[in-house]
């Protein structure tokens, strides 16, 4: 089954997407970014595979269910969908536990401080203290400059266009620094292994 979680400032931001998709699966809203904190999610979309026992069998990865972003990201959704089918239909685990550990990126103290600053800023904003909120949104962004959930995710709250110049600046800096992100998980129908990874 699928569970979607929208990291948005309110239900109304996610509502058009959810209503257009008319999903039968749980479509949840996380205005506090608590999922981002628990799973160290730094951008969207992020997918995590969780088995029947509640264990992570494939950690955070950027994956897309359609061709929608193929041109932008260069990520072809088909291999991921095929691997997903194999897991669901043939019970074929995508990775061994060792590989899951290898591909996990664990949070740093600085990232956790950025999340605390974000939580404080969000609280202040919800109580109408916009000036104070702004100080802490800025601080959170300084502490986690490549966390899109914090930097881009705070733009709509702060009245900044998340497709505008502020985002363009953040994006070009992120590209210049080598696109720091999750560790890309190779999708291979044979047994995947970190040591067997190519450079692509």
């Amino acid at each position: 089954m699928v569970i979607t979680v929208a990291l948005d400032k309110g239900p109304d931001d996610a509502r058009p997407f959810i209503e257009a998709a008319a999903p039968t699966h749980p479509s949840l809203i996380d205005t506090d970014h608590s999922l981002a904190d628990l799973y160290r999610i730094i951008n969207v979309p992020t997918v995590v595979w969780i088995d029947e026992q509640g264990r992570i069998v494939r950690p955070n990865d950027a994956a897309f269910g359609s061709d929608m972003f193929k041109e932008l990201t260069g990520i072809d959704p088909l291999p991921h969908l095929n691997a997903l089918r194999q897991w669901v239909k043939e019970n074929k685990a995508p990775l061994g536990d060792q590989d899951v550990h290898h591909f996990q990126v664990l949070p740093t103290a600085e990232e956790q401080l950025a999340r605390a600053e974000f939580t404080l800023a969000w609280h202040l904003h919800q109580h109408g203290k916009n000036e104070a909120a702004e100080r802490h949104f800025v601080r959170a962004g300084e502490l986690a400059p490549h966390d899109f959930t914090i930097r881009r995710g705070s733009m709509p709250i702060r009245g900044i266009d998340p497709m505008g110049p502020a985002f363009a600046e953040m994006y070009s800096d992120w590209v210049q620094r080598g696109r720091p992100y999750y560790k890309p998980i190779p999708i291979d129908s044979s047994s995947p292994s970190p040591s067997g990874r190519g450079s692509g």
């Binding site: 628990l38 969207v44 997918v47 264990r55 897991w87 664990l106 600053e117």
Partner: protein, 138 residues
Amino acid sequence: MAQVRVTLIDETRESEVPATLDHDRIRLSADALRTALGWELKPQGLCKDERCVPLSGRKDLVTDGGVDLVGVAELLSRPLALDLAERVACIGASAAERSAQLASLQAPEFTLPDLNGTRHSLSDYRGKKVLLVAYASW
């Protein structure tokens, strides 16, 4: 030193407690500390459930005005975001705690509402394979 009320956010749990403002320090009474963060001030240190963190070398944390909030966060290795002017602080989860949870490979439990306000927990779906998808409108 001024007697004030501060809002403390423990990860996501919010409470308002009395505190003493001592220059740029926020000091909490033992009661306020327990109410807001669930930690008890005991002779052996800061304690919660079975766990105690000794104050060794940090005796300065406790004065007549109470326990220094910044010091408590440092002692517990937890991040603290503070707005003194607005008297609000958020104490987050430590990197060590989050890392240990993720490295255990047991998916962290969460409970979140859908558009109708119905709350769903990850554990409601135990026994099924779950594809967890985080997305956003931005």
